[in-house]
């Protein structure tokens, strides 16, 4: 060993490393060669990694996006988030909101050749009900008491007590091939098999996920052969991909690049309202926030348009109810227009003429910081000094949900957002305003407690009568909005960009990317 010349050693090490790298080149060179031979593919760049392809165990938007290209549910959602029948031809809900009957479309096959029928639906529903390893999405399904197959293509599902979000749950519970569930369920998170217009090809962790056209799809139509999804977290890189054409669609599109991209002939920029509500929840059990006049004063102190301009680069709509305008049963309220005099007046009535000091919490995200600073400036106008306390997400979550009782809570104000399916008003209200939903049992971080509102929510959840629900939710919105448990800020608008040579791809109001008719023009 001693005799070996050090230069030879170094040289050897270098050759080794080049050889190693050479190996990688060979592998990648092949895949590149393959690419020239195949039909064109559409690349979609999104901002985050996909978490799982198991539709019964996923909550994040990006995973849902990819899944919905491959998998379909009994019900689904249209562009605006309204519930529509998909695999079910039609559906009905009993008067007492306990029985759901689905008549299924016939002649539909899964990607592995299995038939879609009532039996397949039963297998899926049972998996969601019983598989202990599923951590999400069992909600609603754990209320099911019986599944009755009424015919090859008709099925009735009964739940024990009314659950307002049940139809939405049937929409998000997508159907997987019963063969996969029975024989290879551990493959579901990696490579699901469904009935959708595209089938799974490969998923290279952190790099890309590819799907391919399913030629036996039950709805005929022209579609592109292949779609590849890539997680590209850096905004600038995503924009560069759209400009070079490496990506055909990017979502989200960073607002600061909007002007530049709008001037680009090869790129089309689109904007849609979302179901993401931004607000500051105010702890209504803590002094001085327990006085409704103080909370209303806060609302009068904030200029919503300025908020949207400063924090959301001008993309957003004012939050003019307790839910976003796309949510079902939305009713517009009388907005708290900025009125400093009135706000000061209210504070004076409440006995805080000289203002006070308050604390606002939020995560460490730069947009959140901007938002909190904005609130700080606005409330300063009415003499309230706001101290900003930003915490890393996990720590923040501990601080908020660690409080076992309202008295334990140290929270004064929380700058945060909420989003629910547009069709799911239960989830857009109950976890936020029902007295059963105080942390740690829910996200009612305003500790809003109004017996009447509780009662209305329970009533709306236990009826299948839509006109009655509409009436109740109108009352709820009006009452809560007046009580001001939040500073109502805005509803985000979603921006996405596409190359002008593609069609049939759009972003839904919930943030999912619909590619059902994706193609080149």
């Amino acid at each position: 060993m001693r005799k070996v010349n050090s230069w030879k050693m170094l040289f050897f090490a270098l050759v080794c490393s080049i050889l190693l790298v050479g190996c990688s080149d060979e592998k990648s060179a092949n895949s590149e060669k393959g690419q020239t031979g195949k039909e064109k593919e559409i690349v979609i760049a999104v901002n985050e990694n996909f978490i799982s392809m198991d539709p019964h165990n996923t909550g994040d938007t990006n995973s849902n996006s990819v899944q919905s290209a491959m998998l379909e549910g009994l019900l689904g959602f249209d562009k605006d988030g309204k519930i529509i029948p998909v695999l079910a031809e039609e559906y009905s809900v009993s008067e007492d909101a306990l029985e759901f009957t689905f008549k299924l479309n016939q002649g539909i096959k899964f990607h592995d050749g299995e038939d879609f029928n009532a039996e397949a639906v039963k297998t899926n529903v049972e998996r969601i009900m019983n598989d202990e390893s599923l951590r999400l999405n069992s909600r609603g399904f754990n209320l099911i008491t019986s599944i009755d197959i009424l015919g090859d293509y008709e099925i009735k599902i009964t739940i024990e007590k009314p659950y307002g979000a049940m139809l939405t749950r049937f929409g998000s519970a997508k159907m997987i091939s019963p063969k996969l569930i029975k024989e290879n369920s551990s493959d579901i998170p990696k490579s699901p098999v469904g009935t959708g217009p595209f089938k799974f090809v490969e998923w290279v962790q952190g790099d890309h996920l590819t799907i391919e056209r399913f030629d036996d799809y039950w709805k005929k139509g022209e579609r592109v052969k292949k779609i590849t999804y890539k997680p590209v977290p850096e905004n600038g890189s995503r924009v560069a991909m759209l400009k070079t054409g490496e990506a055909s669609v990017i979502y989200p599109l960073p607002a600061q690049n909007l002007e530049e991209l709008e001037a680009n002939k090869d790129v089309v920029v689109s904007k849609i309202p979302s179901t993401i509500a931004r607000y500051v929840s105010i702890n209504t059990m803590k002094e001085p926030f327990n006085d409704v006049r103080v909370r209303q004063a806060f609302n009068y102190a904030v200029d919503k348009d300025a908020f949207i301009n400063v924090v959301n680069s001008g993309f957003g709509l004012p939050l003019d109810s307790i839910i976003p305008s796309k949510t079902i049963y939305y009713a517009k309220q009388d907005v708290y227009e900025q009125n400093i005099e009135k706000a000061k007046e209210l504070l004076k009535e409440a006995g805080f003429e000289n203002g006070f000091t308050a604390e606002i919490w939020g995560n460490t995200n730069s947009d959140t910081m901007k938002g909190m600073q904005f609130i700080q400036q606005q409330l300063k106008e009415i003499g309230v000094t706001v101290e900003i306390k930003s915490m890393e997400e996990g720590t923040l979550s501990d601080e908020i949900y660690g409080a076992q009782t309202p008295e334990d809570s140290k929270l004064q104000m929380w700058y945060v957002s909420w989003s629910a399916y547009a069709s799911d008003i239960t989830n857009a209200t109950k976890p936020l305003f029902h007295s059963e939903s105080f942390p740690p049992n829910g996200s009612n971080t305003a500790y809003y407690n109004n017996a009447e509102v509780d009662e209305w929510m329970d009533a709306a959840n236990s009826t299948g009568d839509t006109s009655k629900q509409a009436e109740l939710y109108e009352k709820i919105q009006s009452a809560v909005y007046k009580d001001s448990p939040w500073i109502f800020l805005g509803v985000d608008e979603l921006l996405y960009g596409s190359r002008s040579d593609i069609e049939g791809i759009y972003v839904e109001t919930g943030g999912g990317i619909n590619v059902n008719d994706a193609n080149f023009k």
């Binding site: 990688s24 978490i51 390893s133 999400l136 952190g206 790099d207 600038g236 949900y401 049992n441």
Partner: protein, 307 residues
């Protein structure tokens, strides 16, 4: 020498055990409940508790540690709390790209760094020295994300030579490895220069010259070889760091590496992934250190290791 290497490798085992215990404790001490993060914002307490039991998080911490280590010895890194996928699957697609990127970045950084450093030392205070040191200072000072985005703008958007990111094909490795290597190249160039200048003043160099050795032979065979020890130390350290992935470069170039996986997992309190990644990085670091130690004795035969 072989015995020495074997001994070092055996010594790794207790070291790794200590590392595993410490990292396990630290990870679990950070505030934040993975069960709540997994269950989502709209979860009820009942949901959170159910998830907690399902994930085994309700067990005492020493039980969780023993079950983690037990699985580890059977070659099972566990299942990610966040994705429900085996940790090994999540590592598989990211580990090799990280290794290739590290080798490429280090490869060019070492070669160019040594050349610039040597030239700067030989032509001290002449224009090659000034040019070399300006290059080196720029390399250290340019922030990675800035350099990366500028490279994308020039070579991907304007010229279209390389893709903006990904890990498919050798082309996608070019820009990230330039970005990653720039700082290291500069550091190595500066270390080589100062170390070589120091060595060139030594007595044995004067002796060499006095006995009539050619200047090139003095430089390469005697001076450079003797001045490489600090350079190898730095290169080894950097190599270890790079294997752990670089969040900035992986983010800018959407590169599927280990760095971002670790950061994402920490944000999500994905214990099995964090734990396994930390162990993997420790093993890598220890191995790189071993290689550096062996290189020492090759460079300077006076450094001997008892076996």
């Amino acid at each position: 020498m072989f015995q020495y290497i074997l001994k070092r490798i055996i010594e790794m085992i207790p070291l790794l055990l200590v590392i595993s215990i410490l990292s396990f404790l630290f990870i679990h001490m950070i505030p934040g409940d993975p069960a709540r993060l997994v269950a989502g914002k709209d979860a009820t307490l009942e949901d959170v508790n159910r998830v907690s039991i399902e994930l085994g998080l309700d067990q005492p911490i020493w039980k969780q540690y023993i079950s983690f280590m037990g699985n580890l010895f059977q070659g099972d890194l566990g299942t990610s709390l966040k994705t429900g996928l085996p940790v090994s699957t999540m590592f598989a697609d990211r580990f090799m790209p990280s290794v290739y990127l590290t080798l490429l970045s280090m490869g060019w950084a070492v070669v160019i760094g040594l050349i610039i450093g040597t030239l700067s030392a030989v032509f001290k205070n002449k224009w090659p020295d000034h040019l070399g040191m300006v290059t080196a200072v720029s390399g250290i000072s340019l922030p990675g994300f800035w350099l990366g985005l500028i490279l994308i703008q020039i070579f991907s958007v304007q010229l279209g030579w390389f893709p903006t990111g990904g890990s498919e094909g050798w082309k996608s490795y070019v820009l990230p490895s330039i970005t990653l290597g720039a700082g290291i190249m500069s550091m190595l160039a500066r270390f080589t220069r100062s170390s070589l200048l120091e060595t060139l003043k030594a007595d044995f160099i004067r002796t060499g010259r006095a006995k009539g050795l050619k200047e090139s032979s003095v430089l390469t065979k005697h001076a450079l070889r003797n001045s490489l020890i600090p350079v190898v130390t730095i290169a080894g350290l950097q190599f270890g760091f790079l294997l752990g992935g670089s969040v900035v470069v992986e983010t800018v170039f959407s590169f599927p590496g280990m760095g971002r996986l670790l950061i994402d997992s920490i944000a999500f309190r994905d214990y099995p992934v964090i734990q396994s990644a930390l162990l993997l990085f420790s093993v890598e670091f220890i191995l790189v250190n071993l290689i550096v130690d062996i290189l020492y004795s090759t460079l300077n035969p006076k450094i001997q290791y008892e076996s």
